[in-house]
């Protein structure tokens, strides 16, 4: 199944079916990256649509656009979709496409495993969203606090879909994380020492370590819940001596590192974008890298700040207040480094740069309200109100999503060979900034005035109508801005300017090859002599367009897809409470892993 250069040349006889087949069986990290990005963007639109429905429902008090039951499903699936099916895989699109290019590698360490992660993610996401089709979408919140999730209080398939779907998607993340850790450690080009790696790749490495360590925690919590629901165990049953706080501890022990899984890749992206468009090396590279590492480590010691309201006692509360304040330091250090990078630089305000600067500005707002929560007395005024909603949406929309858009505008020409429109891009940026601020800024006040989270409607006597209406208008503006982006994508495909290898004058290795890069990435593996190979005084040797001799790249394989189908068949069997279907799915998985393992490398 090996292919050479010649086999990758576009053939006019290639039918649509064989083109689709080549995408399904692909093990090329670039194609998988595009698949991740496209799929995650569709899930992003789904999650955004859910958010819009919620905002329309909350536009006026006492509204009955959706029922309470539908609203509960919407906010549960909005959170779950955005975290697990949109933000994480959108970052994964960049991990896949960019990391091997930045490392000077020809692919990831385990290309077929990479395909398996993707298919597991997409099938797991479809599995969870299939719950809407059978009218049993999860409805216990994305945080699924026990004991509301027990069979006693949540009968039916709602929570079953959630508990099984999350395990499937989580497995996809762990598999991908191991793949990227091995790739980054082992496949660096000669001369690329760890402290010469681009910051984006560094942040990806930290993120993958967090994924590998955090996801097993949520898996354990979910397995306990699964056993409680399917086999009658009592992990979270208070009456039988279980403890509902166990879930909260496990969930947030995963949940807070998860926040850094979402934000660190975005921080990595803007650490690439800001230097490129300021024509200056990143200020304090080593400090930025160490801050990222420190965030990854400290992120493990702050989880109970989600639980001040439980009443854990002054000692626990003080310790977690202190660690939460401490984690603001590396974050603040990074912000100062980005600002110092822009300072005195030759700044070019391309759309990618606007989004990166937008990230810095909005992330500061979200970070400040985050530090406010670190103080337990203040937290008690804010927790479970819309103030918290405002806080984390500033971090995740104003931060993570902004960073991802910066990455899209920055690397789009590398991925497609064409530039996105700067004019439409600026419309997109400004509408997005205005929209998200209109949506989330009033929520600070709405929260402090006492509007609790997760209520499907509210009383006009609360006097919160006007600000809620503003939030809804803002959400619609944000929605329009995303449509503007979709139009930009369409425009770029039709009329986008040809990008060439290096449209921005970037410093890192991905800009030294053509756009899009050839299947083998580098005709000659580059030698790295500096942190910014393309900006260094010594310069780097040009990489020839055409390799001297054909380069072997791994061919396609359908076994990863079959294996992922096996997992989802087993998951469906669990939903159907049919042991035979579960065993059937497991058999498919076992056979495909066997076939995959013994698949001949050369055909």
């Amino acid at each position: 199944m090996a292919t050479s250069v010649a086999a990758h040349a576009p053939s006019s006889a290639a039918t649509l079916a064989s083109r689709i087949w080549s995408w399904i069986t692909t093990t090329d990290h670039k194609r998988i990256g595009i698949l991740y990005g496209a799929t995650a963007f569709v899930f992003f639109l789904v999650g955004g649509f859910e958010a819009l429905l919620m905002r329309l429902q909350l536009a006026s008090p006492g509204s009955s656009l959706v029922s309470a039951e539908a609203y509960n499903q919407l906010f549960t699936m909005h959170g779950t979709t955005m975290v697990f099916l949109a933000l994480m895989p959108l970052s994964a699109a960049f991990f896949n496409y960019i990391v091997p290019l930045q490392l000077g590698a020809r692919d990831v360490a385990f290309p077929r495993l990479n395909a398996f992660s993707y298919w597991l993610f997409v099938l797991g996401g479809l599995f969870m969203n299939a719950s809407f089709v059978v009218g049993a979408a999860p409805n216990a919140g994305w945080f699924g606090y026990a004991n509301l999730t027990s069979t006693q209080f949540s009968p039916g398939l709602h929570v079953d879909f959630w508990v099984i779907g999350l395990q499937v998607v989580g497995a996809a993340s762990v598999v991908a994380a191991i793949n990227f850790i091995v790739t980054i450690i082992n496949l660096r080009a000669p001369g690329m020492r760890l402290m010469r790696m681009p910051v984006f790749t560094w942040m990806v490495l930290v993120t993958q370590f967090i994924i590998v360590t955090a996801f097993p925690v949520i898996t354990i919590a979910l397995v306990f819940l699964l056993f409680d629901r399917f086999f009658g165990t009592n992990f979270y049953s208070v009456a039988a001596g279980g403890d509902v706080l166990l879930w909260q501890h496990l969930f947030w022990l995963f949940g807070h590192p998860e926040v850094y899984i979402l934000i660190l890749p975005a921080m990595g992206i803007i650490s690439e974008v800001i230097p490129t468009f300021s024509r200056k090396p990143l200020f304090g590279y080593a400090i930025v890298v160490y801050s990222g590492l420190l965030i990854g480590i400290l992120g493990w010691g702050v989880w109970a700040h989600h639980m001040f309201q439980v009443g854990l006692g002054p000692v626990a509360d003080s310790v977690f207040a202190a660690t939460t304040m401490l984690i603001a330091i590396p974050t603040g250090v990074k912000i100062f480094n980005w600002i110092a990078t822009v300072w005195g630089g030759k700044v070019r305000l391309a759309t990618a740069m606007l989004f990166a600067l937008g990230f810095v500005a909005q992330f500061i707002l979200g970070g400040l309200s985050g530090v406010m929560h670190s103080s337990p007395p203040a937290d008690l005024q804010q927790t479970d109100t819309y103030f918290v909603v405002a806080h984390f949406h500033y971090v995740l929309v104003g931060g993570a999503i902004m960073g991802i858009f910066a990455g899209i505008y920055y690397w789009w020409p590398k991925m497609t060979g064409r530039l996105l429109s700067e004019t439409i891009g600026k419309w997109h940026f400004w509408l997005f900034v205005i929209g998200t601020n209109l949506t989330f800024f009033p929520m600070h006040f709405v929260g402090l005035l006492g509007m609790p989270r997760r209520i499907y409607t509210y009383d006009p006597a609360l006097g919160l109508d006007a600000m809620n209406l503003v939030s809804t208008i803002g959400a619609l503006v944000s929605g329009i801005s995303v449509l503007v982006f979709v139009y930009n994508v369409w425009w770029s495909r039709k009329r986008g300017e040809r990008a060439g290898g290096d449209p921005w004058g970037g410093a890192t290795l991905e800009w030294s090859v053509s756009s899009p890069p050839p299947p083998y990435n580098f005709s000659v593996i580059p030698e790295v002599v500096s942190r910014l190979p393309r900006w260094s005084v010594k310069g780097m040797r040009e990489i020839p367009e055409v390799p001297a001799e054909p380069i072997h790249v791994p061919g396609g394989s359908y076994w990863p897809v079959v294996a992922a189908v096996g997992v989802v068949v087993a998951a469906t069997g669990a939903i159907l409470h049919s042991l035979w279907v579960v065993l059937g799915g497991a058999a498919v998985l076992a056979v495909s892993i066997y076939a995959w393992a013994f698949e001949p490398f050369e055909v």
């Binding site: 403890d243 509360d317 250090v333 008690l380 479970d384 006492g450």
Partner: protein, 158 residues
């Protein structure tokens, strides 16, 4: 290792800010007794209604003038759903849940705690401004979560 003067400035500055934050928290906690509610007392959620501590719910005035409020949360109400307490008097709340997790937030005050089935949540606070306050459940508890509220009436003290 050579550390630039600017970097040293930021390092010490950041350290000082953290020291100030932690100092204020420690001062408020230790010298002013401002700690979040914490009270490890358990109750069997199956017998909440017959448990002597919760069999009689409502407002009780202790001999020393302090006031004690006992309430139970359930899907989707507070029992009792209206309480009257005097202004300017320490009020101790003793709360628990009969079924799932609930929240207990008195809007416009600093009273906010989670009601965990199996545990008694206890905290003491004081209301200075007489008037009517809304008590809401802020911990998502199911279908009618938005309709779970009670009323607190703070009356002019004698």
């Amino acid at each position: 290792m050579h550390v630039d003067i600017y970097e040293r400035f930021w390092m010490w500055g950041a350290g000082a800010i953290v020291a100030i934050f932690l100092g204020i928290t420690a001062f408020a906690a230790i010298s002013q007794g401002r700690v979040p509610p914490s009270h490890a007392e358990t109750v069997d959620p199956r017998n909440v209604w017959t448990d002597p501590r919760f069999a009689e719910r409502g407002v009780k005035t202790n001999p020393d003038g302090s006031v004690e409020v006992t309430m139970v949360a359930l899907m989707f109400a507070f029992q009792p759903n209206e309480i009257r307490v005097p202004a300017g008097t320490p009020v101790t709340f003793r709360l628990t849940s009969a079924d799932v997790l609930h929240g207990f937030q008195i809007i416009g005050t600093n009273a906010n705690t989670m009601l965990v089935p199996g545990y008694v949540s206890q905290f003491t606070t004081e209301f200075d401004r007489p008037g009517q306050y809304l008590i809401v459940c802020n911990e998502y508890c199911g279908l009618s979560h938005q309709g779970m509220f009670a009323t607190l009436i703070v009356e002019e003290g004698e």
